[in-house]
Subunit: 95 residues, 2 copies
DNA sequence: TTTATATTTAAATATTTGTTTAATTATTTA
DNA sequence: TAAATAATTAAACAAATATTTAAATATAAA
């Protein structure tokens, strides 16, 4: 559990997650988005992977990264007890 | 924004937040819950305060801490875009 | 089968973080 | 007003983190 919170603590990692909402991306494409060396991005991807916030599959010489449900469910589950205490924006349509 | 994620990264701070779901608590009462010195808890409370996850008011010589909506809204807002991508547990009743 | 490309792993380092002990501030009570 | 209580602030330090450069691995193309 700790690892998920550690993962989303870093701004670069949060940007990577946001970037992946556009769909699966190669490690190189992800690295291009940032003013930072590839090894540094690689390290961030590794941490997000450990937190199960992303996943990857191999496509030839490329590694394709995608969002992974598990880590987000962990965050959601942690957050749940606190929603009881606050009026949070309600969904516009019936779920 | 960064400060909120930093705040919830620490397990002690997450326990403090959980403890405060039981209602407002004095600094001393909070400190008792943990095998840790008061200055350390004080520092954690300060960080949670900075993140607007908690608030306090003075009652004589006591400082009474409570949960604060603002910080949780920040987390919720960040999480929102990701909910689109995953089937998350649905509410049991109409909201 | 050599060379280029995509990416990670390893080693080193500066910065940040969590904790402790000691000192300080503020309030209450005797 | 002096002593006790509640809590924070300050200084010091060990542990964890993000980054870089250099080296290694794996696949593709020439």
């Amino acid at each position: 559990m700790d690892i998920v919170f550690k993962a989303i603590n870093d701004p670069t990692r949060r940007e990577i997650l946001r970037f992946l909402t556009h769909g699966p991306q190669n490690a190189g494409t992800i690295a291009q988005q940032f003013n930072m060396t590839k090894p540094s991005i690689s390290h961030h991807l590794d941490l997000l992977k450990q937190a199960q916030l992303i996943d990857f599959s191999k496509n030839g010489q490329f590694l394709v990264y995608t969002l992974n449900k598990s880590g987000f469910e962990t965050i959601h589950a942690w957050f749940q007890p606190f929603t009881m205490f606050f009026e949070l924006p309600k969904p516009k349509i019936r779920l």
